[in-house]
Every structure is written in structure tokens, then in C-alpha cells.
């Protein structure tokens, strides 16, 4: 506690750096994985190998991936770009399968009905597939968010600042309080973003919650 009371501005700075690395990676993962997941659902012959490749990608340990990316892309090793690319790779690998499952779970009759009343394929995607797949997609995004926040700490080993810096710095200078602060701050940040996503889900897709208490509360609404 003493350590934190003396160093909290530093912790806040690092938490901001942590968010600046993880939030773009999470957004990129969603933007890439949702269309790819839908492709995998629509064309199982492409989708099978695609999902297999995704699970292989996810198997690659984080630190080696951080070292291989600069050699492949020419980005500097100690850079936010390398970090965000690596985090996006994991995010996409994790989310593609959930996205494919989410679209598979949408009832074909609903889709057929939408086509029958004259929706274009694009409208079917935006107005039928995406809203109905949303709850499952969101649960996938929450898993990606929590794991991304944890993974960012690995970047501290190659010198990219984040809350992980508290772990490496605390270890090198033998300050257990600093390491503990790093662990707790990372977990809290993960829980915070997870909670925000949960709230976003309730606001953006109220029907997923309305399904349960509808009977009792319908009168006042």
C-alpha cells in the first residue's frame, strides 16, 4: 500500500499505456474476426481449414511471436505496432471460432423469412444475422478482452511499457509490492473492461435480458 501511495501517478500512466495497446487490438480483432467467422460459416470447405489454422496460431507462445513478427513485417521490435499485431493475431484466432458458431446458431427460418420479405443479402447480414448473433459474439469478445489485457504484460519483457512493466521492474529491483500492484491492476483493468462490455451488451441488445423478466415488469414499461 505504501508503494502504491507513492507511485500511483506512474501506475495510472502505465494503465493508460496498457489500454492504448489493448483496445486497438481488441477492436481490430472484432473487425477482422466477424467477417472471417461469417465466411467460415457460409463456406464450410474454406471454414474448416481456416478454423484449424486459427487454433494453430493461437497455440504459438506470445514471446516468440513478438520476436518473429518484426522479422516478418519489418516493424521495430520494441514498438506498439509489433505488440498490437501480436495481440490482434491472438484475438482473431480466439474469436473466429466463436463468430462462426454465433452465425451457425442463427435460425435458418429467420434468415429465410428475411429473404422472403425482400431483404437484400447485405440487409440480411446487418439487420438479421448480426443482431441475432450478437449475444454469442459479445461473449467471445469478452473472453478476447480479458485474455488480451493479460497478454499485454508480456510486452514488458521486450521493453514495451504497460502494467507489465511493474512486473519486470518489481522483479529486477526485488519490490514484491510493485509486482503485486501490477498483477492486481491488470486483473482490475480486465474486470473493468469486461464489465463495460457486459453493460454495452445490455444497452445495445436489450432483448437478451428482456427475455427473462418480461412477465413481471412488462406493466410499467
Amino acid at each position: 500500500m505504501t508503494w502504491l501511495s507513492l507511485n500511483w501517478p506512474h501506475v495510472i500512466d502505465l494503465a493508460r499505456a496498457h489500454l492504448l495497446l489493448s483496445v486497438p487490438a481488441i477492436l481490430l480483432s472484432v473487425v477482422i474476426a466477424v467477417p472471417v467467422g461469417r465466411l467460415a460459416y457460409r463456406h464450410p470447405r474454406v471454414g474448416g481449414p481456416l478454423l484449424g489454422a486459427a487454433s494453430l496460431l493461437y497455440a504459438i507462445p506470445a514471446l516468440p511471436l513478438l520476436i518473429v513478427i518484426p522479422a516478418l513485417l519489418g516493424t521495430p521490435l520494441r514498438s506498439a505496432t509489433t505488440m498490437i499485431v501480436a495481440l490482434t493475431v491472438y484475438g482473431v484466432a480466439l474469436l473466429v471460432r466463436t463468430a462462426a458458431d454465433a452465425f451457425t446458431a442463427v435460425d435458418d427460418h429467420t434468415r429465410g423469412a428475411a429473404v422472403a420479405v425482400g431483404h437484400s443479402p447485405l440487409a440480411v447480414f446487418w439487420q438479421v444475422d448480426l443482431p441475432l448473433a450478437f449475444p454469442v459474439l459479445l461473449s467471445g469478445v469478452r473472453v478476447v478482452t480479458v485474455s488480451t489485457i493479460g497478454l499485454v504484460t508480456i510486452g514488458a519483457l521486450i521493453g514495451v511499457s504497460s502494467l507489465g512493466t511493474l512486473l519486470t521492474d518489481g522483479f529486477q529491483r526485488s519490490i514484491p509490492a510493485e509486482v503485486t500492484t501490477g498483477v492486481i491492476a491488470t486483473v482490475l483493468l480486465a474486470l473493468l473492461l469486461d464489465g463495460l462490455l457486459l453493460l454495452t451488451g445490455r444497452v445495445a441488445a436489450p432483448w437478451t435480458r428482456a427475455a427473462r423478466p418480461a412477465r413481471g415488469t412488462a406493466v410499467t414499461a
Partner: protein, 228 residues
């Protein structure tokens, strides 16, 4: 691309393939600590998972445990144990065991939980003891999912064992940290490629084990259905 060529040259260098710091020795260490971790974590997680799955009680604890474990940064656990227990094998080993337990536990419990309750009930009805029900009915039927848990635990441990070289002198991670310290990108990249290759081999091998187990469990259910 030039960097990759240099790393491949590093990999082809005979000097890197011999002695206590050579690639075979480091790979051996890496696999040994992974196997030891899985074994020790399994001694705790497998019986606990079987018990939770068999009694169908305590599922909430498993859910909370695996959820919390996902949020804890692995590097944090390694450095905390490293600070508490000093440089040596004990600290990373304990940290790795803590990290491996949730996956093993979740796989075992989920596998047994997913079995149709009528099957163990039938086994009891023909006079099997609880131990027989567990060992000859539930565990074999849950095997594909148990191996699935083993698969994710193994990958997690191999990856984290790479980081363990930060606090102790073990495994393939040494190449990465030695390279980082001396700014020798070739050594780092060479070491990274070895770790990636090792992980992919393990992932594919365990995936094959899992599908073989599934095929052994599945024909049984198919032959049950067809005679009718």
C-alpha cells in the same frame, strides 16, 4: 526476410546443437519441466475434476477458478513466485503448476459432467461399485474432453515455461532472454522459431490423440444405436 535467413543459419550451426546449452539439451529441459508440471498438476486436478464431475457438485467453484485464472497475468505469477522463492527451479515449477491446474480441472470435470446421467446409473444398476463406475465408465467416456484439457494445459505450460527463463535458467526461453540482453536478434529469432516448432508439434500430436480418443468413444455409441 534477411533476418529469417540469418536465424535459419543460426539453427543450422552445429555448435548450437551440442553441449549443455545446445538446442537438444534445452529442448529436453523444456519438455521435462512441461511433463513434470502436467504430472504434478494432474495429481491434484484429475482426481478433483473426477470427483466434482461424478458428484455433480462444486461446478461453480471450477467456473470461478478458470475465469479468475484467465485474468491473472502469467508473468505476474512467475515474478511473484520468483521473488518469494528465489532463483531456481522451485519458483517457476510452482507457478506453472498453478497455471496448469484450471485447464486440467475444467477438462476433467466438464468431460464427466457431459456424460448422459443414465449411463452411470445403468452401471450402478448392474452392480458396479462407485470406483468401477468412475474408472471403467465415466473416465473412459470423458477421455476426449480430458485430453482436450490436457492439450490446452500443455500449450499454456510450454508457452509459460518460455517466460520462466526470465527468473530461472531453464529451457528454450534462455535463447530469447540471452538474445534480448545482448541485442543478438539472430539468437532470439532462432530460439523463437524452435519454440514455435515445438509448440506446433505438440499441438498437432495432442489434437491427434484427442481425435483418436473421440473415435474410440464414438463407435460405441454408434453400435448402440444401429441394432435397434
Amino acid at each position: 526476410m534477411n533476418l529469417i535467413a540469418e536465424a535459419l543459419a543460426w539453427l543450422a550451426e552445429p555448435a548450437n546443437w551440442s553441449g549443455p546449452g545446445g538446442i537438444p539439451a534445452r529442448t529436453g529441459q523444456h519438455l521435462a519441466i512441461t511433463a513434470l508440471t502436467i504430472l504434478l498438476a494432474g495429481l491434484i486436478a484429475w482426481p478433483a475434476g473426477v470427483l466434482i464431475g461424478h458428484t455433480r457438485r462444486g461446478a461453480g467453484i471450477v467456473g470461478a477458478l478458470t475465469g479468475a485464472a484467465r485474468a491473472i497475468p502469467t508473468l505476474g505469477l512467475l515474478t511473484l513466485f520468483g521473488l518469494g522463492l528465489g532463483i531456481g527451479l522451485t519458483a517457476p515449477l510452482l507457478a506453472l503448476i498453478v497455471l496448469a491446474i484450471p485447464s486440467l480441472l475444467a477438462g476433467t470435470y466438464a468431460g464427466i459432467q457431459a456424460i448422459d446421467p443414465a449411463i452411470p446409473a445403468a452401471a450402478r444398476a448392474i452392480g458396479m461399485s462407485p470406483a468401477q463406475v468412475i474408472l471403467t465408465v465415466e473416465v473412459p467416456l470423458a477421455m476426449p474432453v480430458i485430453i482436450g484439457g490436457l492439450r490446452s494445459a500443455t500449450l499454456q505450460v510450454v508457452a509459460t515455461a518460455t517466460l520462466a527463463a526470465y527468473t530461472a535458467d531453464i529451457g528454450l526461453g534462455r535463447y530469447l532472454f540471452a538474445g534480448l540482453k545482448s541485442r543478438d536478434y539472430t539468437e532470439m529469432l532462432g530460439g523463437a522459431l524452435v519454440v514455435v516448432a515445438l509448440t506446433l508439434v505438440l499441438e498437432v500430436a495432442l489434437a491427434i490423440c484427442q481425435s483418436v480418443a473421440r473415435r474410440i468413444v464414438d463407435p460405441a455409441s454408434r453400435t448402440q444405436r444401429t441394432p435397434a
